[in-house]
């Protein structure tokens, strides 16, 4: 694993009106590393992903990717540079087939990536390739969203609650897939509520609350941290 950070966030502030969704968040992520981002609802995890991916522009702070400042780049430009994300609530192109969803990402990708059939196999949707994406259930739509993101050849993948709705056996398989992606050199920022799932993937976790980072380390240490306990247990 390289120790030169691929992604660096410096004191990011994102406001919605008077509400500070992100309040000076800083983090870094290296190629092949998995970083977990956890916290209660409304703590700013998804907003953080949205800022990195170019969906939101922060009021303050900077985002660096490969050493380049990319704070105001669009989603499209980010995708072309190698930053992609999955959505908490995926919205695949429902009138298109599963394969066509990936063909679109492939057509507009500017980076090398796995062949589409391999990606379909990787997410277990080969049997559904000719079906309309709108006919998939929500878990399958999340997998399609992951395959779509991978079809753009990302070197940084932002995953937003991919595990929600998966059964234990599917969770194990998903964890293996994410580990495999990280081993291939992709840096992964993982937003997740399922702490056991995150624990099986990484020992580096950032706990957020009210837009701020309140802890960084492994989950066992987080469980002993009074501030984290107060946030999760109201103590």
């Amino acid at each position: 694993m390289s120790h030169n950070p691929l992604l660096v966030l410096e004191k990011i502030v994102k406001q919605f009106g008077q509400f500070r969704a992100l309040d000076g968040v800083s983090l870094s992520l290296s190629p092949g590393e998995i970083l977990g981002l956890v916290g209660p609802n409304g703590s700013g995890k998804t907003t953080c992903i949205n800022v990195i991916a170019g969906l939101y522009r922060p009021e303050e702070g900077s985002v660096f990717f490969n050493g380049n400042k990319i704070t105001k780049y669009s989603l499209t430009k980010m995708a072309h540079m190698g930053i992609n994300r999955t959505f908490q609530v995926p919205k695949p192109f429902k009138s298109l087939t599963v394969r066509e969803n990936l063909i679109i990402a492939d057509q507009y990708a500017k980076r090398p990536h796995q062949p589409l059939e391999e990606l379909l196999d990787f997410v277990g949707l080969t049997a559904y390739a000719s079906r309309e994406a709108g006919s998939l259930n929500s878990s399958q739509q999340k997998l399609l969203d992951l395959a779509r993101a991978l079809a753009t050849g990302p070197s940084l993948l932002l995953i937003d609650e991919l595990a929600a709705g998966l059964n234990p056996s599917e969770l194990d398989k998903m964890a293996e897939k994410i580990k495999h992606l990280a081993e291939s050199g992709i840096a992964i920022l993982l937003v997740e509520h399922l702490l056991g799932f995150i624990n099986s993937l990484t020992k580096r976790v950032i706990v957020m609350n009210a837009g701020k980072e309140i802890f960084e380390g492994d989950l066992e240490s987080a469980a002993k941290n009074p501030e984290v306990n107060a946030v999760y247990l109201g103590g």
Binding site: T76, F93, S95, D145
Partner: protein
């Protein structure tokens, strides 16, 4: 009488499909209701009128000229205004006001330059022959206009389902953010859709004198209302559903004109009322993207 009404309803319905399809394309891609749709159609009608009366250019040729000009104008309007609208807090409401303003400006300028006098193109401009369809006689202008409408609709289908730009357009219709995350330049695709949407309106405009009679600078708002009814019948956001909407509107309109002519002007409002009451998502309606 019945056979004549049905065939004329289909011919008129094909024209109506062309009349509405551009409005639906723009709505499908941008979730904006182009309240100036009828005014762009009116500009196309006057373009064809002046091309024919001043230079003898056939309205069939004007369809092509109108489309090329409007693609450019549509893209310019998009890049000049739409990205700013999208950055606002309520882009949909602001877009309504914006396009209403554009409609008023076009109408006012058109009154100044074209005057309020009704104009019409000689019905023989698209040919003087009479065609026999199922034993009924129809002017060549109607048949040719319907045929041009079919060609334009087939081209829209080809664009949406068999071109890279069309796939990207359908992706943007599905989800703006996912499309952008797939590497699609959403603004470029939307600018094309805006241009093509206006081009289709202007193409219908060139044919409108043959179906709607005389043209005036004030015709736009009625056409926008009718077009809106047509796309709601078919399904908002589904351009090809407009073909169904257009045919239903055309047939209903012709039946009313044949059997209860004094009520004919009520057709768009009546159909709008019925569809909103019984199938608000339109006849081909599925869940569409929410902005």
């Amino acid at each position: 009488m019945l056979v004549y009404t049905v065939i004329s309803g289909i011919l008129f319905g094909l024209f109506c499909s062309l009349m509405g399809i551009g409005l639906n394309l723009i709505f499908g891609v941008m979730r904006f209701v182009n309240l100036a749709h009828g005014d762009f159609l009116m500009l196309g009608a006057f373009g064809a009128y002046f091309a024919y009366t001043l230079y003898g250019i056939s309205p069939a040729i004007s369809v092509v000229i109108n489309m090329i000009v409007m693609i450019v104008i549509g893209a310019l309007i998009y890049y000049a205004f739409v990205p700013r609208l999208l950055r606002s807090r309520d882009p949909e409401m602001l877009s309504l006001i914006f396009f209403f303003g554009i409609s008023q400006v076009i109408e006012a300028l058109s009154v100044i330059f074209f005057t309020n006098n009704p104009r019409s193109i000689d019905w023989s401009a698209l040919g003087t022959a009479n065609y026999q369809l199922f034993g009924q006689s129809f002017q060549e202008s109607w048949v040719v206009s319907a045929l041009i409408s079919v060609i334009a609709i087939v081209l829209v289908y080809f664009y949406l389902y068999h071109t890279k730009l069309g796939y990207a357009t359908r992706a943007v219709m599905g989800s703006l953010d996912e499309a952008a995350s797939s590497g699609i330049n959403v603004h470029r695709v939307s600018a094309w859709a805006m241009g093509i949407g206006l081009a289709l309106a202007a193409a219908a405009g060139a044919l409108s004198p043959f179906f709607l009679g005389s043209i005036t600078p004030n015709m736009g708002s009625d056409i926008t209302t009718t077009s809106f009814s047509i796309i709601i019948i078919g399904s908002l956001g589904n351009p090809l559903g407009t073909v169904i909407g257009g045919l239903i509107y055309g047939l209903s309109s012709m039946f009313m004109q044949s059997y209860i002519p004094s009520w004919a002007n009520l057709v768009p409002y009546l159909l709008l009322f019925l569809i909103l009451l019984f199938k608000p998502s339109g006849l081909l309606g599925k869940v569409v993207r929410h902005a």
